[in-house]
Symmetry: C2
Subunit: 259 residues, 2 copies
DNA sequence: AGCGCGAATTTCGCATGGTGGAATTGTGCG
DNA sequence: CGCACAATTCCACCATGCGAAATTCGCGCT
């Protein structure tokens, strides 16, 4: 499924930086201003530590503090976010809107960033029960539709090397946990023209995905939703549009770079 | 002018965090992937230090590394940026587009974040020579159109307190450097219905701005461009649209919060 | 207005986490 | 293949980040 658990970043690195971003993510997840104690608690830090980091982030413009003394994300992040957005995500915006309209489900665009699937754009379904995978989230490829779609374009050796690094963690009874199962699915994907994730990450969730050809960084578009709504009929209808969408986002003859 | 120099953040705070964001801003400013040595040089850090910070940022998803080993901003920032965007910036997007169309110059939306003007949305002019102020940038209020527009709505005591904290640095011969001059300009702004920045930050640059009423965090919209194009005629035409725009973004009767 | 309480902010000694020069490894080119 | 340059890793050292304790602030209640 497209919302396979995020791989935990390797421990190590600069702790202060990780902690600062943990605070930013806590504020982002809250979708409303938070008191210091709440941010600190959410991020799992002692209050003075959180305070000091938030003070730094505030001074830099990435956090703001309201008169209520609550903290919220600052405008500096807007600028960074806009400039982090690949050209492909820009081009894909109307395409994703149309996919959502046709299928009535959440439309996603993802790329392969190292060994992880990284979601770079999304148009959420208008249904109340819907798949929600935040832009910027990263997941393991083997249990996600877009991941399998992209891997289906890679040489077998490269798939094996990737899997050797990531492993094949099981999320549900249908998750692929052997290389052979995965490679078989990728072969099926190529034959069919699209990948299916049928509850491999999360029971009751279904996703169909098609790789976007012609980019040196693999990319894929998908439609994901609850199995009860993603019937075979819906899949059949949506797949044509999905394939058309992928083709429309195809890279140029010069194997267009994603940046 | 709307592109008054950014106030340097107070020194201190968590150095590692500042450095990490310096690297992100270096990548953002480059608008293309950069080699490690180049990022490090731009950010003014030794290569191994930059490497370590970038590694951390990469592991967290805020930086990605291409096969060429170059670094670029990562998709994690997209998500943060989107969630940092205030509701007002969303609402203002079509308004700014229309302002740019009418005036043919760069349209901006800014708020007062503490003592600084913070740009939260922008539609750049289509002219090749145009004002470019990145979303997320912060400037001192006294030398910017939007800053003066917002201050014109504040009680005098509050303006005096703000200026006591920020000072009134001179950027050009027309910059206000005394409180009395500034207060006079704010009075003129109120009388006129809009603020003018006539080369106060940058010679040859002109900006007109109107405060958006009814928000507990001060906000303002502006049009800025080169003086040679921002004639009195253009100003006269654009001001009506600017005032209409500000009114359209007016906060509700409950003094709508910006978050 | 005064008080109490909880939250936010500041302080500062300490130790750990961050640093960066040197060494090692990797990559691309001739 | 060899070389030069770039990237990455290593690790001793100490500067910076940490967080418990102290202080200050802000709010609500009487």
């Amino acid at each position: 499924m497209d919302s396979a658990p995020e791989r935990v970043p390797a421990s190590g690195g600069v702790q202060s930086v990780s902690r600062a971003f943990g605070l930013l993510e806590a504020l982002a997840d809250a979708h409303e201003p938070l008191a210091l104690a709440d941010v600190a608690a959410t991020a799992g830090l002692p209050v003075p530590t959180a305070h000091r980091l938030l003070r730094t982030l505030h001074d830099l413009g990435y956090v703001r503090q309201l008169e209520s003394r609550e903290y919220a994300l600052g405008a500096g992040l807007i600028g960074l976010g806009e400039r982090a957005r690949p050209a492909l995500a820009e081009r894909a915006a109307p395409v994703l809107v149309r996919l959502e309209e046709v299928a009535g489900e959440t439309a996603n665009l993802a790329t392969l960033d190292g060994d992880l699937v990284s979601y770079i754009a999304q148009v959420p379904s208008r249904h109340r029960m819907r798949m929600f995978t935040e832009v910027g989230r990263r997941v393991l490829p083997h249990a996600s539709g877009v991941g399998k779609a992209m891997m289906s374009l890679l040489p077998e050796g490269r798939v094996r090397a990737l899997v050797a690094r990531t492993g094949l963690p099981r999320y549900t009874a249908t998750t692929h946990t052997t290389v052979d199962d995965l490679l078989q699915d990728l072969a099926d994907t190529r034959r069919r023209g699209f990948a299916i994730d049928d509850g491999e990450q999360e029971v009751g969730v279904r996703c169909i995905a098609v790789a976007v050809p012609g980019h040196n960084v693999p990319a894929a578009v998908s439609i994901s939703g609850p199995s009860v709504r993603m019937t075979d009929e819906v899949v059949r209808t949506a797949v044509a549009e999905l394939i058309r969408a992928a083709k429309g986002l195809q890279g140029g003859l010069r194997t267009q770079a994603i940046p």
